[in-house]
Symmetry: C2
Subunit: 363 residues, 2 copies
């Protein structure tokens, strides 16, 4: 298996002369690259070097997928995501269900019970209303299944050739129950790393449609709402659940790298323990992709205290979305941000954050 592709970006053009907003050069590129949206190194640079310093506040600096706010007597989680996936309809879902699941999952990864969603649509002139209706119906069904209301929305239309049919933003508010404290800073050496199921399904499902690949069985996206699974994890692990993260863009590699960096710890993953289906492994080999870098849309990583690991694992496996859950690694006291993997044949390799753009517009 090869590493991620690193050929997405043209040659650097030297540092930009930047204004007062950005204390260090944003990047070596004067314009936006596809890789700035890939969920890997360049995305992280854009966030760390431009957005966080500009919008400076403690919540943003936590670099989580959502914010937790004091909202009177309760703590509120708040998250946003825009969806630009292509194609709009794919095996296992579409941009509508993905947009609901994705934001529900970001709230769940804050430990929150979803309270309400907003929907912002950017439609391209000429987009078929029948397709819009299909997307809206899919959002409705996904939200109903979660039991979350879509309470406010906005629609904009852009001229033909200035969009791609439909882009959807969903933002969400959730309530964080008392006693739940999910934060990378709570991660300790010795913690166990759990993964709720088999990896790389979403990315391979999208790619196989896009590239017209036919496998013996259709590979479906794992797009699903993880609020129920997370509630079960929290019920089983209590305060022993230290951090949660859904490994979407950039896959398990980027998620573990980000968490290890934010927590100031190292991590060791065990390749043999990471659940992956045979057909997905085969597809990755044909496509030259490392499944560890491929996006998931219905999986959670949970980093938990060792004493609750078995209980959390059992809770995951009792949930329909967590039947293949496994303990896939351990937190160690090594250099902050270093993630290594014990391979099937016994050696170790560094699991780096994705540098380029593996699969553009995956979500």
């Amino acid at each position: 298996m090869s590493g991620p592709r690193r050929d997405a970006a043209p040659a650097p053009a030297g540092d930009l002369a930047l204004g007062p907003v950005c204390p260090v050069p944003i990047s070596d590129y004067p314009t936006v690259q596809m890789a700035h949206g890939g969920g890997g190194r360049l995305t992280q640079q854009l966030i760390e070097r431009m957005f966080v310093p500009s919008f400076s506040n403690p919540e943003l600096e936590r670099m989580h997928d959502g914010a937790v706010l004091a909202g009177g007597s309760e703590r509120l989680a708040f998250s946003t995501d825009s969806y630009v996936v292509r194609p709009l309809f794919f095996p296992g879902g579409d941009i509508g269900s993905l947009a609901v699941h994705g934001t529900v999952n970001d709230l769940a990864m804050c430990g929150a019970r979803p309270l309400a969603l907003s929907v912002g649509m950017i439609l391209e002139e000429g987009f078929p209303l029948a397709d819009l209706e299909r997307v809206v119906g899919s959002m409705r069904d996904a939200a109903a299944k979660v039991g979350v209301s879509i309470v406010t929305g906005d629609t904009k239309v852009v001229d033909r050739g200035k969009g791609d049919g439909i882009y959807v933003n969903t933002s969400g508010i959730g309530v964080v129950p008392d006693g739940v404290d999910i934060a990378p800073t709570r991660v300790r050496a010795g913690d166990r790393i759990l993964l709720s199921g088999s990896i790389a399904l979403h990315g391979i499902a999208i790619l196989s449609v896009r590239e017209g690949l036919a496998f013996t069985t259709t590979i479906e996206s794992d797009s699903a709402a993880l609020d129920g699974l997370v509630a079960a994890v929290l019920a089983a692990g209590g305060a022993g659940v230290h951090v949660l993260r859904d490994p979407t863009r950039g896959g398990v590699s980027s998620a573990t790298n980000e968490l290890a960096e934010a927590a100031g710890v190292a991590m060791v993953l065990d390749e043999r323990a990471i659940p992956i289906r045979e057909e997905v492994r085969g597809a990755c080999e044909i496509l030259g992709l490392d499944p560890l870098y491929v996006a998931n849309e219905g999986k959670a990583l949970a980093i938990v205290a060792p004493e609750v690991a078995d209980a959390v694992l059992a809770a995951m496996r009792a949930n329909p979305l967590g039947r293949e859950a496994a303990i896939v690694g351990e937190v160690t006291a090594g250099p902050a941000g270093r993630v290594t993997m014990r391979s099937r044949v016994g050696g170790f390799r560094i699991v780096d954050m994705m540098s380029g753009e593996q699969l553009p517009r995956i979500c």
Copy 2:
């Protein structure tokens, strides 16, 4: 002065065969028209006939620009808006400040004090990072001025030719103070209609840049955050403040039409009382636009009980953003949704909701 342009949409193509989501035909058009995003009749149809029935819940059915939710001990306001304005930079603002002001204003129109914002960006491959930095800096400055934090965000990149540089979504949460109850259903015959300042500045500012028009003085957008003005209005009018609305896309005409319909009342506006600057009136005449349909981005309509009207007017005028505030009309017991205007020369005309698309991508 002529009415709004009605030439945006091609001939109807007959009713669509629609699935179970939509109980009535969405519209007479099989594809998205620019006018579906214009803030007028077609936008309203899309919302009323597709989004509201699909996402059915009491908050959405209120058809306000934001939702008010019970969040434990406090009521929360929640709002979202995507910004697709072109050009990105215009006299008086840019897409960044507009995105902050717009969502702060939607929260303010719920009577809420803004608590936190999210930012979702859709960047087009090749967009200059220097421009991105300018937009981000502008968002930072606008948020700092309001005193609201940008606490969470998301960035997506789309391929060249599938966007237009940058689209920004901002969502926001606010807290509705005790005793504040802003809802169209509270509007009564006899209520006074107040407008916080002179109209049509944003639309004319955008259009003059887009069309390369030169006036004696540069007309600047009125883009501004109205949270302070609304706080003053609520302090002065208390429970006598029945509803608030910022007349953005579709202008004062669409805002009053929507409110009159939602409240089940009629309204009479007084043309002579509506503040408008001479150069804006002149520009509208040259361009064949009715200023009542042109977008504002820093104005509020307040519908208040007659006994607090003078106090609210004084509070508006004491605010730097409300110096030109005026009482511009009255709520009457006529047919629900009918808005008429007493013209300068004494006659009455119907003020209809905009039908077509007057100024695409105004916000």
